[in-house]
């Protein structure tokens, strides 16, 4: 008979959600527009980087180098004097300043190996590192082509045959689209369950349930299944229609396997939503708490920057968060078409974390629910 209660309460949850326009808009937005904009708006690493050139040579070669920088990677270079360079870099106007010394062209042709100086504002990490690589290549190419008109310049003896697997063109939107889906799965499942619980408490309906022949376990399980189902359905539609359809991102592995992993992840995050819902007394408090919980969960899970670049301790701590395992699992299945033989550790971890979360949430729910209203 208990299953019937869980079923009926879950149906009630679904009906409530259906009548809540704000939450519906949030769900639709999170799984369509949010993913689309995130995937298409993601800038290339180097996007219109501001560069200035101090040209003390004023030769055909230096003019040729200056004209090699153009959008979208670079803004058209500003031609400035040596004196202005420091002030402009201090004020953050230029990320790069290239200094072409006097007699550069003639030294080059005389094989005296002249040096060009490249100044990089290294406080701008996003452009500094990749940008300086681009500039080196561009300058080397220009110099070589120029020199080749006058003499033979040999090629390097050892070639690197570089191949990028899983995403040959390193298209960032492939990555961003799926990671956005993952972040939204986490965000929505926590927000929806937490809000559903707080709404019931604010309306006093939860105590109404508790005077009926219904147990806290049934109330909580009904919320978990109903909201997990909504998010699961929405995310699978989003993956097929938006990510594969509109954005044409090729997803590699088995979608069914991924959705199974998602279900496990949702078990953990919906329980977490209930847990957070019991910690606070009102929606505003829930909102503030979310800011402090969601941001770390998303930023440190490996969905924005690689886990390898985080300090060891952060990596260890984040292993307790379901996101971390979900991100690993999603990357393995969807990008590298890994099967269960590869991702089973993540499945085990998610199941464990989910069970612990559910247990914690249930014990807090039992303890606090009577006193809350």
């Amino acid at each position: 008979m208990r299953a019937a209660n869980i079923f009926h309460l879950g149906i009630k949850e679904l009906r409530s959600l259906w009548r809540d326009p704000i939450m519906l808009v949030l769900i639709v937005y999170a799984f369509t527009l949010s993913i689309y904009t995130r995937a298409t708006a993601i800038p290339e690493t180097l996007n219109k980087a501001p560069i200035a050139i101090v040209d003390e040579d004023r030769s055909p070669l230096s003019a040729r180098i200056a004209s090699a920088f153009y959008p979208p990677y670079f803004l058209p270079p500003e031609l400035i004097t040596q004196a202005a360079m420091d002030a402009r870099m201090d004020a953050g106007l230029d990320t790069f300043a290239l200094v072409i010394p006097p007699e550069f062209q003639s030294d080059l042709l005389a094989e005296r190996r002249p040096a060009i100086q490249l100044n990089v504002d290294a406080t701008r990490m996003s452009q500094a590192f990749v940008g300086s690589g681009y500039i080196q290549t561009i300058v080397t190419d220009e110099v070589r082509t120029f020199a080749q008109r006058y003499r033979d310049a040999a090629v390097l003896p050892v070639d690197l045959a570089l191949r990028v697997r899983f995403n040959p063109t390193l298209n960032k939107s492939w990555f961003a689209a799926v990671m956005q889906v993952i972040n939204n799965i986490t965000m929505l499942s926590i927000v929806l369950t937490g809000a559903a619980l707080i709404r019931e408490r604010e309306h006093g309906t939860v105590e109404h349930l508790l005077v009926m022949p219904v147990t806290p376990f049934e109330i909580m399980t009904s919320k978990v299944w109903a909201i997990a189902l909504v998010v699961l359905v929405a995310s699978s539609i989003s993956l097929t229609a938006v990510v594969q359809g509109m954005l044409a991102v090729p997803l590699q592995g088995s979608l069914a396997l991924f959705l199974a992993g998602t279900a496990l992840h949702l078990f953990a995050t919906t329980s977490m939503g209930i847990f957070l819902g019991t910690l606070v007394r009102s929606m505003p408090q829930f909102g503030l708490l979310l800011m402090l919980i969601l941001l770390p969960l998303q930023m440190l899970s490996g969905a924005t920057t690689p886990r390898e670049s985080m300090p060891e301790i952060v990596q260890q701590v984040m292993l307790a968060a379901p996101n971390t395992h979900f991100v690993m699992l999603a990357q393995a299945i969807l990008y590298r078409s890994a099967g269960l033989d590869v991702v089973w550790p993540q499945f085990v971890a998610l199941a464990l974390i989910g069970t612990v979360q559910f247990g914690l949430a249930l014990s807090r729910f039992r303890r606090t629910i009577g006193e809350s209203a």
């Binding site: 219109k48 201090d90 990749v130 105590e207 929606m283 800011m291």
Partner: protein, 931 residues
């Protein structure tokens, strides 16, 4: 109904009208709150507005107080038009307004003294003046012993007295009280009116306007304005009204004044005597039932017994323990001590069987507002496990019985209160319980609907034999019960039939009897030396108000004292709110850690493995070149392509190399060779870094080899490029990110806190104090802003400390420059929050709205990731204007570029302008009235 019918009372000192309301109408969206209302109040009179909840009493009072903007018609108070902002400001010090809801305009975390003090400061009293007035007020209201108790911990009666003190601090000529005694126990209520009487005799010229839902109270007023659905039904003295309607009580007079179609359904509730023969079976029994919350005893050794088929009432004020007792009986709350039995079974929250025999209706008519009436009934029927085939019949039966057919498919929130109440009762009865527990089921419902509800209860009790346990704070409802318990401060004073209680005390009414029991209880408490409770008896001199010299109100454009009054209160409140306080201090630190590590662009410890088909010293040298760097970690060699594929798929390897056979030999002969490189591209950002590292290491190895081998001339470089990474020579992410994260956090959190601080007041209702006092917009805004600027500076120091110590980011420039820039920046950030708050209505909207409106421009357009000079179009414009852009330049300049004030002057100018412009804009948009 016209103004003429309002004759001056004989008590009136002079008959000058102080309030005139002509043809006033008010709408909230489609709802008509007031419909052509005409009222006049003369000096020195006590005028009452009577009628049930939601008929427009509060709307009318807020119009007269100037808290709400006049939409149609004219409101004149103290010889001026209340639509005129200048007049409102001029008369604000002469009007006092106490809005509805216990302590709604009070600050719950502030003490009694601090609350009154805040109002005193707002009205510009000097320190000694203030202390004298507060002392007098506390004495005469009997609040003196509780001066340091937080207002939130006061009983209802005391909160009302405190509200009165706050209203009277500035000697008003017009006192407006909106339902001052609702939910307060009868003794406190009587004392409240005694106090009002004393004040009136001390200040005979003062006019008082009171709204009340207690009809019996109204019989003492000079004039009554009877209201229903936004209209004035009649105006006159209580005697006149009773005479005109021929009614015995104000309640029946009110019903008689209602229009015909509303009156028609009304029947006088008659309660047939109970069949005593069923006695002996006990439905509920409580023995020494006690509930403590921390030190607070909510229910104190309560004993009672309810017999089957009885209507048993709990009568008492709000917060006296009625609800808590009911919750213990239903198993919602565990008892701290004592025991209770339902049908002879001890109450056990795990006992699901007993629950089926009980129906419960909580105070707020808790229905699922997202489900229709029918769906609510069906859900409850299913949860009570009624047989599936019976459910439709049962639901239909309930709908017919409670006359809900027309509204069964409507959402409950769209129903009038009376129908919602019936639906709620139907839900509680769906499983045909033997016992019904009803917690204040009639609060806020009009008298006709209330009597209809009672008809149903009587039917249930007498015909179906359902035991009914009901709580109420209305005397006339209590009189209808078979037996009642009088409750006060968690204790049952006495339990008996209402008539027996009246008889025992020789009282005239149940109200009198209750008051006498309360007085006895207080005597006992005093005798036993227990702490004095809610009802402090007023002992102060009755004319204590009289010797106050009215002080000319300060009306300067900008008053620093009023501004500091707001600042001081805000600071006190913030200090006592754990959640906001934590967010303010810890929030930025937590987020700094998260972002510092989360946005890191350093990629280190990348895994790689080699498929070495050459196995020579040269090939091993090539691999060592990679393995020896701090970027790469070598895993065991790859055996074949399948192995390579598997290990890359599991994300074990970020990079795989294949060195072809004969690599060393070919290289030595100067023949072209090719090394195969596979990069794991699942994470493009990482892959890009891996690729450029691999290329870099490769070039490095070649140039090393070049110096040893003869082929160097062939591949020698034509020109050198010397790259200087300035400001951050080690190219560390933290050095780059931390000075950019600080501006982001110092925008987000201060803006959110200030936005919340204004919207919170809107939500809780204390914003009314700003509407009806002479405070100006700028005083209010800057007053609110100051504590948050101070807090943000503290935050800044904390973040800088964290940056330098934990993250190891050196501060190379002038700290003073950075601190000055920060002060300007957080002033702007808090002003951004204030600006946002003018658009937001709820706290949750303020949180998400501020997050979106600050994070987006700060991260995308302010040069944190891409420099503003790379932006185009709207983004560029936003970037140039947004304060974060300029502060990021200052922060990076001081942290990494060793700059000081002279280098950054250009960035200070926009910051200097930002806060004043934002504040001016906010002041222009902030409303000084509710619209």
């Amino acid at each position: 109904m016209s103004a003429d019918s309002f004759r001056p009372d004989s008590n009136a000192v002079d008959s000058r009208p102080v309030v005139r309301v002509w043809d006033v109408a008010l709408r909230y969206g489609k709802t008509v709150a007031l419909d052509t209302v005409n009222v006049e109040v003369r000096a020195g009179t006590l005028v009452g507005l009577i009628g049930p909840d939601g008929v427009g009493k509060s709307s009318l009072l807020s119009l007269i107080a100037g808290a709400r903007a006049v939409q149609a018609g004219k409101v004149e108070v103290l010889d001026g038009d209340m639509s005129d902002a200048r007049h409102r400001r001029a008369v604000a010090p002469r009007i006092a307004y106490m809005p509805q809801g216990l302590g709604k305009n009070l600050y719950p975390t502030l003490s009694v003294f601090e609350n009154i003090d805040f109002f005193g400061r707002l009205f510009g009293h000097g320190r000694s003046e203030r202390e004298r007035r507060i002392g007098d007020l506390l004495q005469s209201t009997g609040l003196a012993p509780f001066a340091h108790r937080p207002a939130g911990n006061l009983s209802g009666g005391m909160k009302q007295k405190l509200g009165l003190c706050c209203a009277l601090i500035h000697d008003p000529d017009v006192l407006i009280l909106d339902e001052p005694t609702t939910g307060v126990d009868p003794l406190s209520r009587r004392e409240f009116w005694k106090l009002i009487g004393q004040i009136r005799s001390g200040r005979p010229g003062m006019s008082i306007l009171v709204a009340t839902a207690y009809m019996e109270e109204a019989e003492e007023f000079d004039q009554l304005v009877v209201m229903d659905t936004g209209r004035v039904l009649d105006i006159g003295s209580p005697g006149e009204l009773l005479r005109r309607t021929g009614a015995a009580s104000m309640e029946s007079a009110f019903i008689a004044l209602l229009p015909e179609e509303k009156r028609r359904s009304h029947r006088i509730v008659e309660i047939p005597p109970r069949d005593e023969s069923e006695d002996g079976q006990v439905a509920i029994k409580a023995e020494n039932l006690t509930k403590r919350f921390g030190n607070f005893v909510a229910v104190d050794h309560v004993n009672f017994e309810i017999r089957r088929g009885e209507i048993f009432g709990f009568l008492g004020s709000n917060g006296c323990g009625k609800t808590t007792t009911m919750k213990m009986l239903t198993g919602l709350l565990p008892a701290s001590e004592g025991e209770a039995w339902l049908f002879g079974q001890p109450v056990d929250p795990r006992d699901l069987e007993t629950r089926r025999r009980v129906g419960y209706m909580s105070q707020s008519f808790s229905l699922y507002s997202e489900l229709t009436g029918r769906q609510n009934l069906e859900l409850h029927a299913r949860l009570f496990r009624l047989p599936a085939d019976e459910i439709p019949v049962r639901v239909q039966g309930m709908i017919e019985r409670f006359d809900l057919a027309t509204v069964a498919d409507v959402l409950p929130n769209n129903l009038p209160l009376g129908q919602r109440q019936r639906l709620s009762l139907a839900v509680a009865l769906i499983h045909q319980p033997e016992l019904l527990i009803l917690d204040e089921p009639t609060s806020g419902v009009d008298p006709v609907a209330r009597d209809g509800f009672w008809q149903t209860l009587v039917e249930l009790a007498r015909r179906d034999g359902v035991t009914i346990f009901i709580s109420t704070h209305l005397m006339n409802e209590a009189e209808r019960c078979d037996r009642i318990s009088l409750m006060h401060a968690g204790r049952v004073l006495v339990s008996d039939a209402p008539a027996a209680l009246i008889e025992e005390r020789g009282a005239e009414s149940l109200n009198d009897a209750f008051i006498r029991y309360l007085e006895d209880a207080l005597q006992q408490e005093k005798a036993s030396g227990a702490e004095a409770t809610a009802t402090g008896v007023s002992t102060g001199p009755s004319a204590s108000q009289a010797h106050h010299e009215p002080q000319g109100p300060r009306l300067s454009r900008f008053d620093f004292r009023r501004m500091f009054s707001f600042a001081r209160r805000e600071a006190l409140e913030l200090r006592r709110d754990p959640i906001r306080g934590t967010l303010a201090l810890l929030g930025s630190v937590i987020l700094m850690f998260v972002m510092g590590y989360g946005i890191s662009l350093d990629v280190e410890d990348l895994t790689f493995a080699v498929l070495d088909r050459d196995q020579t010293t040269t090939s091993r040298d090539y691999v060592l070149n990679l393995a020896g760097s701090r970027y790469f970690i070598e895993h065991e060699p790859i055996s074949d392509y399948a192995d390579l594929d598997r290990r890359m798929r599991s994300d074990e390897l970020s990079l795989a190399l294949e060195i072809p056979p004969g690599f060393a030999r070919d290289l030595a002969r100067g023949r072209q060779v090719q090394i195969g490189v596979w990069v794991n591209g699942a994470m493009p950002q990482r892959a890009e870094t891996v690729r450029s590292y691999a290329q870099g290491m490769h070039a490095h190895w070649l140039s090393q080899q070049g110096s040893k081998t003869p082929w160097r001339t062939a591949g020698g470089r034509l020109a050198n490029i010397e790259t200087r990474f300035r400001y951050n020579p080690d190219i560390k992410s933290l050095v780059a990110m931390v000075p950019a994260v600080i501006p982001l956090l110092l925008m987000l959190i201060p803006a959110m806190l200030t936005a919340l601080s204004v919207v919170r007041e809107k939500e809780l209702g204390s914003i009314i104090n700003f509407y009806v006092t002479p405070a100006t917009r700028l005083e209010f805004l800057i007053g609110k802003q100051l504590p948050y600027i101070a807090l943000a500076m503290l935050n800044f120091l904390l973040l800088v400390l964290l940056a330098v110590t934990v993250f190891g980011v050196p501060l190379t420039g002038s700290f003073l420059t950075l601190a000055t820039g920060t002060l300007l920046y957080v002033s702007a950030a808090t002003a951004v929050g204030l600006l946002i708050s003018t658009f937001m209505r709820s706290q949750i909207a303020a949180i998400f709205g501020t997050a979106v409106l600050t994070i987006l421009p700060a991260t995308e357009y302010s040069g944190i990731i891409d420099p503003v000079s790379s932006l185009e179009g709207t983004g560029r414009i936003i970037g140039e204007l947004y304060p974060t852009t300029h502060y990021v330049t200052i922060s990076r300049g001081v942290f990494s570029k060793a700059l000081d004030f002279s280098d950054l002057a250009m960035s200070f100018i926009p910051l200097l302008l930002a806060a004043p412009i934002l504040l001016a804009l906010t002041a222009a948009l902030l409303r000084k009235q509710e619209h």
